[in-house]
């Protein structure tokens, strides 16, 4: 059986301490700049905060993974290099990388550093994963959320590194690291700036008939009737009209959360080494509840005890949830 490490989000120093206290095996975090894919106002760490966070986590036996998982545009690579230098200096346990130039740099400049391949690299075949393992010494791949469990089981037999999968949280629909939707509408890039449907461009507008439009950079991503709750305008979760769907429909996906709690035993059996909980932008109490519940579930499964999955199901707070691609090919 794999170790089934629990990898938990740390958007702030307080969330990091919360996740560590709740039993995370590892936490992942980033600096307050474009070097990571959650470059949101109010989130992330200053260098001093990271140093303190590593000390706190290591004291509790928890690992710290530093996300350097965006793509530097030409002329700005030094920002990513400096972030890697700081990570080494403060003793993070691994870097989560996507860009080949960044991976190549760390491999040569900090040969002892451990590299994980970010989901942003979109490595979804054994050949692609082996490319990163053989060239950059990648020790773990975070798999895109597009594979079924039988496919994961098969990949496991064909690659020389560990597998990490997302199990809970936001359900990204597009292949990560290949999405410019936000840049098309707002001028801020997910890949280069670490920004996705940024709050600074969001507007909720009450229309004369009482309905509410949620807009991003002036584009109506969805409209809600007076009795509906208006959702956040994430481009790939919006409702649009197509020629044969003039009334509007969720063209890509409904606003829905990924929750694989019921599939944990199967994922462990398939050889998944680490489970990732999404949500660096979520609150401390959310992190505490989710990490605590998954800690109990994973411990129960590892000890061969029955576990109460209903706690985990309840965590989505009434939001719709899905097992996404993991359960069936019909998702595609």
């Amino acid at each position: 059986m794999s170790l089934a490490e629990l990898i938990c989000p740390a958007g702030t120093p307080a969330a990091l301490r919360t996740a560590v206290d709740a039993g995370a095996d590892a936490v992942y975090c980033g600096f307050q700049d474009a070097t990571n894919a959650r470059n949101f106002p109010g989130l992330n760490f200053t260098p001093d905060e990271l140093a303190a966070a590593v000390a706190y986590a290591h004291h509790a036996g928890t690992k710290v993974l530093l996300a350097l998982n965006t793509y530097p545009p030409a002329g700005k690579v030094d920002l990513w290099r400096h972030a890697a230098y700081l990570g080494v200096r403060y003793g993070v346990d691994a870097f989560i990388v996507a860009d080949m130039g960044v991976a190549d740099y760390i491999r040569h400049t900090h040969p002892l550093a451990r590299l994980h391949l970010s989901v942003q690299a979109a490595a979804s075949s054994p050949e692609a994963i082996r490319y990163y393992c053989e060239n950059f010494g990648v020790k773990r791949v975070v798999l895109p959320r597009i594979l079924t469990i039988p496919e994961i089981r098969q990949i496991r037999t064909e690659i020389p590194c560990e597998i990490e999968t997302f199990i809970f949280g936001n359900h990204g629909l597009m292949v990560e690291g290949r999405c410019s939707l936000t840049n098309y509408l707002t001028g801020q890039s997910t890949n280069m700036d670490g920004v996705c449907s940024p709050a600074s461009d969001v507007q909720y507008v009450r229309d004369t008939d009482g309905s509410m439009s949620s807009r991003l950079a002036g584009f109506t991503i969805d409209r809600f009737g007076p009795e509906e709750m208006a959702g956040y305008p994430t481009i790939c979760k919006g409702r649009y009209a197509a020629p044969n769907r003039p009334e509007g429909y969720y063209a890509f996906e409904e606003p829905i959360s990924l929750n694989l709690s019921r599939l944990l035993p199967e994922l462990i059996d398939a050889g998944v080494h680490a489970f990732k909980i999404e949500g660096r932008q979520r609150s401390k109490s959310y992190v505490r509840n989710v990490v605590t519940a998954f800690r109990h579930a994973v411990d129960d499964i590892r000890a061969g005890r029955a576990t109460n999955m209903s706690d985990l199901v309840a965590l989505t707070e009434g939001q719709k949830q899905t097992q996404g691609a993991f359960e069936t090919k019909k998702w595609r």
Partner: protein, 309 residues
């Protein structure tokens, strides 16, 4: 090191859409005979289910284009997950000729150190990545469509110093995202496995409008494209001065021979940009143009280029 600006080559990217075999044959016959292009990329990049429709015609298409003096390059799939996708990628990676363009790390793995081009889905955003790729046998790199002008100039200098060709898309819809899910099938209540190739009904992509009726995106199977066509005609001078060696036109369901001729006439200095832009508008009836990505603002936007660069 100063690099002398040379006249860039004009290329035609691979067809992103699912056009019928018949439409494809006619298209490439006209392109071979009439379009003033230097290089043509062929092959299915978006959906592995479509490839069988065109395999039989491929050798004849390659021959016809080459006899017309055009360099042919075969492009590989952007997304590689299933067995058939891995095999398709392996098959192209094993070819000695024509040249190949790789769009997925699985293709890089299969190709090893043998010469290859790096496609726009490979995320060659910066000089460090281009340097790495050059050391692995890359001879040419197509930059990501969302890269702004300043970064393009730096990336181009670095690529040329390494002896690589460097390419930028100057016409056609921008690829904004790919997914494992087929959104064409979804719009028709189907899944990818039983799609019945409904994407063939939308040769320029399926239009999505916002709920207040503003055109925004186009769906092409697993791919999401921009509603607007990128048009960098006014920026061609700066691109050439910055050392871009290849300019890519993406096939849309319009008169692509006409489009190619417009770009060629500007490159050759025969037609002024403003007049050429008006001709391009006539050819692309009603579609909006954009250059926002190039100028580092929202991609859909269109701004007037600076008078001189």
């Amino acid at each position: 090191m100063a690099v002398k600006a040379m006249k860039p080559k004009l290329t035609l990217g691979p067809i992103a859409y699912h056009w019928s075999a018949h439409k494809n044959r006619d298209f490439y016959a006209r392109i071979a005979d009439e379009a003033p292009l230097d290089e043509v990329y062929l092959g299915e990049v978006i959906c592995s289910k479509r490839a069988p429709f065109h395999e039989a015609d491929l050798p004849a298409t390659i021959e016809r284009l080459e006899r017309a003096g055009k360099t042919v390059v075969l492009s590989t799939l952007a997304e590689v997950m299933l067995k058939r996708e891995r095999k398709a990628t392996d098959d192209i990676a094993g070819l000695d000729a024509p040249e190949i363009e790789v769009n997925n790390a699985a293709g890089l793995y299969a190709r090893g150190m043998r010469p290859h081009r790096v496609g726009p889905f490979m995320n060659a955003y910066n000089e460090a990545t281009i340097d790495w790729m050059a050391r692995q046998g890359a001879t040419h790199v197509c930059l990501p469509t969302e890269l702004p002008a300043e970064a393009i100039a730096i990336a181009a200098r670095s690529a040329r110093n390494l002896g690589l060709g460097v390419e930028v898309q100057v016409f056609g819809r921008a690829s904004l995202a790919v997914s494992a899910r087929c959104y064409h099938a979804r719009a028709h209540g189907r899944t990818k496995d039983n799609c019945l190739f409904v994407c063939e009904d939308d040769p320029d992509g399926m239009p999505l409008k916002t709920r207040d009726d503003s055109p925004i995106l186009r769906v092409n199977g697993i791919q999401t494209l921009s509603e607007s066509y990128i048009d960098l005609l006014p920026e061609l001078g700066r691109l050439a001065a910055d050392g871009i060696t290849h300019l890519r036109l993406m096939p849309q369901d319009v008169d692509m021979v006409g489009v190619t001729t417009v770009f060629r006439s500007v490159l050759d200095g025969k037609v002024a940009t403003t007049e050429a832009d008006m001709r391009l508008r006539d050819l692309c009836d009603g579609t909006t143009f954009s250059n926002g990505f190039y100028h580092g603002i929202a991609g859909y936007r269109r701004i007037a280029a600076a008078a001189s660069t």
